[in-house]
């Protein structure tokens, strides 16, 4: 599998480590009233789609950046690769 890194171009997926569902970026606020329920869902509940899935990959043997990779779990086709920092900042985090 080849991951087309937004900065470095196509790189072997062996250089990357899978780090889980990209929803991990959306950590709920610990101050919210429903924080306990939100954190339960955040920590334990995952969708398991047969199809497009947004996931975090860490370029461990490369530039150590975190990526959001949209991958088809049925065909392994990669539809989109973004820097996780860009995704997080677009959601108003770490701006």
């Amino acid at each position: 599998m080849i991951i087309d890194h937004p900065l470095l171009g196509p790189r072997d997926s062996a250089e990357f480590t899978y780090m889980g569902d990209a929803r991990l970026i959306e950590r709920p606020s610990p101050d919210a009233e429903d924080a306990a329920a939100a954190f339960y869902e955040y920590a334990y509940l995952r969708d398991n789609p047969a199809g497009l899935h947004r996931e975090l990959w860490f370029h461990e043997a490369g530039d150590r950046s975190w990526l959001v990779v949209t991958r088809n779990t049925v065909t392994h086709e990669i539809a989109k690769v973004e820097l996780a920092t860009d995704v997080a900042r677009a959601k108003g985090r770490s701006t």
Partner: protein
């Protein structure tokens, strides 16, 4: 002040196998620069004053005495001769101030210079960098023998510099000599 000698990672003599010579380079002081949140622009200004240019993505700026390369987004490694720049990290800290986190890296890496006609063949055995497509000043971080290493293509066409984890210096040296024997 104590009068202490710097110990090399291996202290091994240069070794020529076939056309390729592998030399441990103990003469480079290293320090990393990581821009703090929102300080990329001011760090790039300082980098320009230190190196003459900001290393682009996947590139090095090869010059004397300070050289540098891009490690990752907002992160760079600076190198300079150990003889004159042993306190490189302190020197950089005074320049970057609170805009960047500077970390001394000389004690973290072992540096091997690999020079010779068959260097590209050897490189292809070692790692998956596209060595024949790389120009002078291209840098790639990759895995060599399960070790995260930087591979820097130097000015001479037959020369690469490999930075690897110092605590695994002997393993890295072993795999370099093994690959050199395989192409000899």
């Amino acid at each position: 002040m104590h009068d202490l000698m710097l110990a090399p990672a291996l202290g091994c003599a240069p070794q020529t196998i076939g056309t390729v010579t592998i030399t441990e380079n103990t003469g480079v002081a290293l320090a990393s620069v990581a821009a703090r949140h929102g300080k990329s622009a001011s760090c790039e200004r300082v980098l320009k004053s230190v190196l003459g240019a900001v290393p682009d993505i996947g590139k090095a700026v090869l010059r004397d005495p300070e050289a540098g390369f891009w490690m990752g987004p907002d992160q760079w490694m600076i190198g300079a001769p150990m003889e004159t720049h042993e306190t490189l990290a302190d020197h950089l800290k005074t320049k970057f101030g609170a805009d960047a986190s500077i970390t001394e890296q000389s004690g973290g890496w072992v540096i091997f210079d690999v020079v010779g006609e068959k260097m590209p063949d050897m490189c292809e055995i070692l790692c998956n960098v596209p060595i024949r497509k790389m120009d002078a000043g291209d840098v790639q971080r990759t895995l060599i023998h399960q070790l995260g290493c930087f591979v820097i293509r130097r000015t001479n066409a037959d020369h690469i510099r490999i930075l690897g984890p110092r605590s695994s210096a002997q393993s890295l040296h072993h795999v370099l000599t093994t690959a050199a024997m395989a192409v000899a």
